[in-house]
């Protein structure tokens, strides 16, 4: 078979630094949606712990670390970012590796940039490290997580990659311009 070139969703668009904020693409080996069947929640969480060392996340939370993270993605559903998973009995699983664009937004003004793109309450006392949300990002449904003091993870559908980078760029330029006043 022909050897095809793999292109990431933000190929040729990232990384991008404007002012004090940097946005980079994150490539995960696998993204798997995991939805436990009724009554199977704790068994699935235990199985996930064995495979990647992190429990099934509570609503609006993440578990795990940078390269093996589980993020709550809706009622009774989580996305597992990083390691490919072996089948877990008692859960519906779907491979979504090629379905999402994942970027990290980092730097002193990262929260100001996000504030221009999402209606979510981003105050550090409300949206803490380890918190996550399904919310609106630049008018698109996405997943937002706070992965560090000034670091956020953003996910939107793969087909929206160029739109996400464009809207981030405009917001980053605006925040940087404000800083120069």
């Amino acid at each position: 078979m022909t050897d095809l070139l793999a292109k990431s969703p933000c190929d040729g668009l990232l990384p991008l630094t404007i002012g004090s904020v940097t946005v980079t693409e994150i490539a995960f080996d696998a993204i798997t949606s995991l939805a436990p069947f009724k009554g199977q929640e704790s068994a699935v969480s235990d199985a996930l712990k064995v495979q990647m060392g992190a429990a099934f996340p509570k609503p609006n939370r993440t578990t795990g670390k940078a390269h093996a993270r589980a993020v709550w993605s809706g009622v009774g559903q989580a996305l597992v970012l990083g390691p490919p998973l072996a089948p877990i009995p008692g859960a519906a699983m779907t491979d979504q590796t090629d379905a999402w664009t994942c970027v990290a937004l980092e730097g002193d003004g990262a929260r100001d940039v996000l504030a221009r793109l999402t209606p979510l309450d981003l105050r550090p006392s409300v949206f803490k490290q380890g918190h996550a949300a399904r919310t609106e990002i630049a008018h698109m449904g996405g997943v937002l997580m706070r992965t560090g003091e000034n670091r956020y993870g953003l996910m939107v559908f793969r087909s929206m990659a160029a739109t996400l980078v464009h809207d981030l760029e405009i917001a980053m330029q605006s925040v940087a311009a404000r800083g120069r006043l």
Binding site: P59, P119, L120, T135
Partner: protein, 90 residues
């Protein structure tokens, strides 16, 4: 305007989509007859005061919610999961 989603907490109205009166949850029996079905499909009250409405948390957790809202003051008195409201009667 904010809606306090039982899963996600208080969220901006932009994340939600309005569907209609929560009467839609009380689907009549298939054999209930044309009058009952006509009423269910077409007729709605238009009260000045508290109403129960279906909202969809579209860009959030994707849950259907039953929101008790006052059409005069726009106060939101209660937000419940539609799945819980529906299951309660059975």
């Amino acid at each position: 305007m904010r809606i306090n989603c039982p899963h996600c907490g208080p969220r901006d109205r932009r994340e939600f989509t309005y569907q209609g009166d929560a009467l839609a949850l009380d689907r009549p029996d298939p054999e209930a007859g044309p009058d009952v079905w006509n009423d269910y499909i077409h007729n709605r009250d238009n009260p000045a005061g508290p109403t129960r409405e279906l909202w969809y948390h579209e860009t959030g957790c994707a849950a259907w919610l039953v929101v008790t809202r006052d059409t005069v003051t726009h106060d939101i008195h209660a937000v419940e999961l539609a799945s819980a409201v529906k299951g309660a009667g059975k």
